[in-house]
């Protein structure tokens, strides 16, 4: 489904990604792990069009998407969440999800202003989808609250709901469990499983080994912008290169 082919990216002389190649198969949950600064988020940024790579290619469902702008990539069916959570804080929880939900609906500025039926229908359909996404992540009752007023764990889930409202075929989750309590992490893990059950392929960047091990059929390990290991969770856990990369930085939780 997603093919990252030998992608290279440098920032002012500092290599962020040095020839990274990986693939996400249809229906799987691929884990991407690695120490801080190994290039995980940068990889997502390249796939979602925020950065254009210096070299290499990215293909989605057989078509090249390298260097497309973020909105075009959304149009191809890839959605993402952010590690540092980029919610629309002045909007309500529901409005946050309405933004993506309205994307493909009928109507525009003029038809909204004139109150035309097709515009109203568009809003209705978007509204239904938005509420459905909120319910799916368990934020239904919070729909009217301001997005900025949510608790940390709820904000993480709102990020996911917002991405789901785009009805993606591939979902890129950037540390969705960061900063969550033990219980919340298990809830997030269940949520991801339910997303997978709906037929969405997932690439998951995560630090928490327990979340990754349980969910992912395959894991890619990055270090200093390179892939140092690929395989099933059990193999990865025993791989000496992986252990060396993580040496001295055991994750909490």
């Amino acid at each position: 489904m997603l093919d990252v082919d030998c992608v290279r990216l440098s920032f002012r002389g500092v290599r962020a990604l040095s020839g990274v190649s990986l693939a996400v198969s249809e229906g799987e949950v691929l884990g991407i792990i690695g120490p801080n600064g190994s290039g995980k988020s940068t990889l997502f940024n390249v796939v979602t069009g925020i950065y254009a790579p210096d070299d290499g290619a990215v293909r989605f469902r057989g078509q090249a998407i390298t260097g497309l702008d973020p909105r075009a990539i959304v149009g191809r069916g890839i959605a993402r969440t952010y590690q540092n959570k980029r919610l629309f804080t002045s909007l309500s929880v529901l409005e946050n999800v309405l933004v993506p939900a309205l994307r493909r609906e009928k109507g525009g500025l003029l038809s909204d202003m004139l109150g035309l039926p097709r515009a109203r229908e568009g809003w209705r359909a978007a509204y239904v989808r938005a509420v459905e996404c909120l319910d799916f992540v368990g934020l239904g009752p919070m729909a009217g609250a301001g997005a900025g007023s949510l608790a940390y764990g709820q904000q993480n889930r709102l990020e996911v709901a917002r991405a789901l409202a785009l009805e993606p075929a591939l979902l890129l989750l950037d540390e969705p469990a960061a900063g969550l309590t033990q219980d919340e992490r298990m809830e997030m893990r269940t949520l991801i499983e339910r997303i997978q059950a709906r037929g969405v392929s997932i690439a998951l960047v995560e630090h928490d080994m327990r979340v990754v091990m349980g969910l992912c059929s395959r894991i890619v390990v990055l270090d200093h912008g390179e892939v140092i290991a690929v395989g099933a969770p059990a193999e990865i856990a025993r791989d000496p290169a992986v252990i060396a990369a993580y040496l001295g930085a055991p994750e909490d939780g």
């Binding site: 925020i50 629309f88 309205l102 525009g108 500025l109 202003m113």
Partner: protein
């Protein structure tokens, strides 16, 4: 919103009564406030909803005013044709000059609007062949629509009132539309809105076009009210005044912008005899409100009362 509707209708009735009872001097102030409120709301699309500062609204207001003036004095076009053309002219000029820069960061965009303001002012002042240069355009006839002439202060006040109310109602429709939602998202986090499917550039360009259009409409009324236009009416100072009104009232509150226009416009006219003190006070107000109420005056009120 029922309380709001009552307040709104009540305000309009009060304003109509004002038109019947007030002295010519008061009417003059009120008329200018109503006209300026249209430009301020237009600017509000950029400042409040797109999160962009523009210091070109004064010049675009001037483009609208000059369009109206030139169309009627040089080509004899009736106001009903002049209005849409003035709106389009200001909108197109504003979008053409602003669109290339609006993809840049907010800071660079402000800079480019300063450039826009100065360039437009210089053109108004020096392109004598088109604009009459330092002479301005004189002898603009009274506003006359379908035979009815708005040629007394009270009558023109009604025209300005109709304009201001229309501008407000249309603006509310814009804000409530999906475009309004997208724009607010872009102002909150441009990157996230792009990866959430918002056509960011198109939204910003639309905001530019709308703000220019509103400025054009306001300028049209200005030309027909004063019946004379001159480049020095449309300087950077005016842009600063508009910006103060837009930001002082509450960065996303249309009602706040109207209130700010009324308070600041009224106070400004009242202080006019005091000359330079007026502008010092303006500047001071701007600085102090940015220091202590960066989200505008109405942001101080509890949430229940705001939209």
């Amino acid at each position: 919103m029922r309380a709001g509707s009552v307040l709104g209708i009540g305000s309009v009735i009060a304003l109509c009564t004002l038109g019947l009872l007030a002295s010519d001097y008061l009417l003059q102030i009120a008329t200018l406030v109503l006209i300026e409120s249209i430009a301020v709301i237009g600017l509000g699309f950029l400042t409040g909803f797109a999160g962009r500062i523009s210091l070109a609204q004064g010049a675009l207001y001037g483009v609208g005013a000059y369009s109206a003036a030139l169309l009627v004095t040089r080509l004899g076009l009736p106001p009903l044709l002049g209005l849409p053309i003035a709106i389009l002219a200001a909108s197109i000029v504003g979008t053409a000059l602003g669109a290339p820069a609006i993809r840049l960061s907010g800071l660079y965009f402000v800079m480019s609007t300063i450039g826009m303001q100065q360039i437009l002012w210089l053109l108004l002042m020096h392109w004598s062949g088109l604009t009459g240069g330092p002479q301005g355009v004189r002898d603009i006839p009274a506003l006359s629509i379908a035979g009815f002439a708005f040629d007394t202060p009270a009558r023109f006040y009604i025209a300005a009132l109709i304009g201001a109310v229309t501008s407000y109602l249309l603006a509310r429709l814009v804000v409530a539309s999906r475009f309004g939602l997208f724009l607010r998202a872009v102002a909150d986090d441009e990157l996230a809105s792009a990866t959430t499917g918002v056509a960011v550039l198109r939204a910003k360009a639309t905001a530019l076009a709308l703000s220019g259009g509103w400025a054009g409409a306001a300028g049209f009324l200005h030309a027909y009210y004063l019946r004379y236009v001159h480049p020095d009416m449309f300087t950077l100072d005016l842009s600063v005044v508009f910006l103060t009104m837009a930001m002082f009232g509450g960065y996303r509150s249309l009602e706040g912008m109207l209130l700010a226009s009324a308070i600041l416009g009224g106070a400004s006219e009242y202080l006019r005899p005091f000359g330079q003190f007026r502008l010092v006070a303006y500047g001071g107000l701007l600085v102090l409100s940015m220091m202590f109420f960066p989200r505008g005056l109405l942001a101080v009120l509890p949430v229940r009362w705001r939209r």
